[in-house]
């Protein structure tokens, strides 16, 4: 009889990460094309897809680690490192450009002291670029977690930041 695969055959993994991954895979892994829903589930639960989760996801989904890593790294939305408490997605696309997005981008980077893909030192904000939020009639736009904002100006950004703090 073939010995059952045990968790011991996997590299060490944090208990909380393991529990979160298994909770998602048990629910979702049997639907067709389950990898994206599974990764969304893991990122929802943990805020990111930790490197150490990949071997476990691969085993649960009967995929190679390379397959899973390839998918996680392909999509801009999946992150392999934790983000700040809240994430600002700033639109860089053409419609927002036509309404001064480049100036706004500069202002926000300076104000928060970070570049794109970076987190402020206090861990409060992560800044990510995004290419269109579908709010082009109210450009320039940004989304904070899942809260959309339109006609953002450097001044309104500062006012909002003060209010939020």
């Amino acid at each position: 009889m073939k010995p059952a695969k045990t968790i011991a055959s996997l590299p060490p993994i944090d208990d909380a990460v393991r529990a979160a991954v298994l909770d998602v895979t048990v629910r979702l892994k049997d639907q067709p094309g389950a990898l994206l829903p599974v990764l969304h589930g893991v990122q929802n639960a943990l805020g990111y897809v930790p490197e150490e989760a990949i071997p476990l996801i691969a085993r649960e989904m009967n995929l190679s680690r390379a397959d899973v890593h390839g998918v996680v790294s392909f999509y801009h939305f999946f992150r392999m490192h934790p983000a700040g408490k809240r994430t600002i997605y700033l639109c860089r696309a053409e419609s927002c450009q036509s309404m001064g997005a480049a100036k706004l981008e500069q202002h926000i980077k300076q104000r928060l002291g970070v570049d794109f893909h970076e987190t402020t030192t206090d861990g409060a904000w992560t800044l990510e670029p995004v290419y269109c939020l579908g709010n082009c009639a109210c450009s320039p736009a940004m989304m904070v977690d899942d809260e959309l904002k339109g006609r953002v100006t450097p001044e309104s950004f500062d006012a909002w930041l003060l209010e939020t703090k």
Binding site: C96, C138, K149, G150
Partner: protein
């Protein structure tokens, strides 16, 4: 008697403070002991007047906008619940000229109905297309779509009926309907508006497609940037399932149709149909070679109809009113209406659904009211980040697939982004290449490498002197030609269009820094 007030829950309206307005109305009504029922509708697409509040009166709905929470007390003082006069009063919504002159077929209900209410949908002619389709043979449904002249609204403009016929004729134990809701083009938001404002029409369209080609399962591949649309769709799917419009036995017909929303993960390329299918299968979103066509071997290797949101959401009205009704709108080979999305630097942005044939000038000057900045229009990008930049001298081009192709542009998904005369077209050209480099799936070399080289060459053109510029311009044109001819899909194949159009029409912007420094 309870008064009905409409405050949109459309994401764009929310981004301008619609939630705070709804709360303020609720609080003020409670304060004054008035019985007010707030309906959270979708947006009518008059975004320059959002948040636009409407009140039900005996003569029709009266609109007020743009309303901020601080305006609410004044509105109550002016008795807006009975259509009272106020500076924000816009009169009857249906009579606002910007809306009245439109021809809303696909968007007939958007902004009018409560998107969470199936009863409201049914009360506004909803599910009449499905009722008609259930009485028809599959081939007759496909024929109706073919006869209507409906072409894919995602951008490629391929006749929907032909796609459906190919899938219908393919024999298989399982077929799929996939809705491409990965609306990634800048300047477009019509998919989002339909999904948030009238989600049942998309569900109905997909169900009809399922009946037409014999597919029992459907997926809506929705971009992650649209959380509001996700909530609206999931609520609508649940409501439709509970009432037997989805499931094993659609409306008691004995035919099954199951529908599910799948979230994307922020890759622009997944709006390309074969890459989208890869993504749905749980893989990297890399483009597939064609053939085989998705209609023959699509999702999980099975015959699949994959259409854009607007294409599928237009099917119900075609089945309900008949193919000739739809076909009679439009011009040439572009039949029906196109929901245009007017965005960017424009005074009155929003959604304009009109028959094909409207000119860009009528759209931008008539509906748009010129630029928001008040400066002259210099360039217009139509069709998203891969669309050509059209100079102000070509604004009289009618919006029609063939007329646009004739001037080297494309209508695409109908997004129109206006730029004023402060735009630096060399920077826009550079951005097109940069965007292609960021979003390339990496499968084919012209797109993966060409886009990065494109950015570098444009940088050299802008930084160099006249001789340097001439040398590098030749390289850039050659590179663009390689990308157009050698790329596997439209991303690499069309990213050169904005670049070349900028070079051709706005040559001066590429003058190098050294050239500009000369006296």
């Amino acid at each position: 008697m309870s008064m009905t007030v409409y405050v949109p829950r459309d994401a764009s309206a929310l981004s301008l403070g619609a939630d705070a307005v709804a709360k303020a109305i609720e609080a003020e009504a409670a304060c004054r002991n008035l019985d007010v029922r707030i309906v959270r509708n979708g947006s009518r697409g008059v975004y320059w007047l959002e948040p636009m509040v409407e009140v039900e009166t005996p003569t029709g709905r009266v609109a007020y906008g743009p309303v901020q929470p601080t305006d609410v007390m004044g509105l109550f003082d002016a008795d807006f619940l009975h259509g009272g006069v106020d500076v924000l009063n816009l009169g009857l919504t249906e009579e606002i000229p910007w809306l009245k002159s439109q021809q809303r077929l696909t968007f007939a209900r958007a902004g009018i109905v409560d998107p969470r209410s199936l009863d409201d949908y049914l009360a506004h002619d909803g599910y009449r297309g499905l009722a008609a389709a259930l009485k028809m043979e599959p081939s007759a449904i496909v024929q109706a779509v073919t006869d209507s002249g409906l072409r894919g609204r995602g951008g490629a403009a391929f006749p929907a009926g032909i796609k459906w016929k190919t899938c219908l004729d393919a024999a298989a134990d399982q077929k799929y309907i996939v809705c491409n809701a990965d609306e990634g083009d800048s300047g477009t938001f019509s998919d989002r508006m339909i999904m948030e404002g009238d989600p049942f029409v998309l569900i109905e369209g997909m169900t009809i497609a399922g009946l037409a080609v014999g597919a029992t399962r459907g997926y809506i591949y929705l971009r992650i940037e649209y959380p509001h649309a996700q909530r609206a769709l999931e609520a609508a799917i649940e409501a439709a399932r509970a009432r037997g419009y989805l499931g094993d036995n659609v409306c008691g017909s004995g035919k099954a149709f199951h529908l599910e929303v799948r979230m994307a993960a922020g890759a622009y390329i997944c709006g390309e149909e074969t890459s989208l299918l890869e993504s749905l299968e749980g893989k990297r979103g890399q483009v597939r070679f064609k053939p085989p066509l998705p209609a023959i071997q699509g999702l999980f290797g099975k015959p699949t109809v994959i259409n854009n949101v607007i294409t599928l959401a237009t099917v119900p009205i075609i089945l309900d009113r008949g193919a000739p009704f739809y076909r009679d709108y439009g011009m040439g080979k572009s039949r029906g209406t196109l929901p245009l999305q007017l965005a960017g630097n424009v005074k009155q942005p929003g959604l304009v659904e009109r028959a094909f044939g409207l000119t860009l000038r009528e759209l931008i000057e008539g509906y748009g009211g010129g630029t928001a900045s008040g400066r002259p229009v210099r360039a217009v990008q139509v069709g998203g980040p891969l669309g050509a930049y059209i100079p102000a001298t070509q604004l009289d081009t009618p919006i029609d697939y063939e007329a646009f192709a004739a001037i080297g542009g494309m209508v695409g998904h109908g997004g129109v982004v206006v730029f004023d005369d402060t735009v630096d077209m060399a920077a826009q050209a550079r951005f097109a290449m940069e965007f292609c480099a960021i979003e390339s799936c990496g499968k084919c070399t012209p797109c993966r490498i060409g886009s990065t080289r494109g950015v570098e060459v444009i940088d050299r053109i802008v930084a160099g002197d006249a001789a340097e510029k001439a040398r590098n311009e030749a390289v850039l044109r050659d590179l663009c030609q390689t990308m157009v001819a050698g790329s596997l899909c439209a991303l690499g194949g069309m990213a050169p269009f904005p670049v070349l159009s900028a070079l051709d029409h706005f040559h001066k912007d590429f003058e190098g820094a050294k050239q500009k420094a000369l006296p």
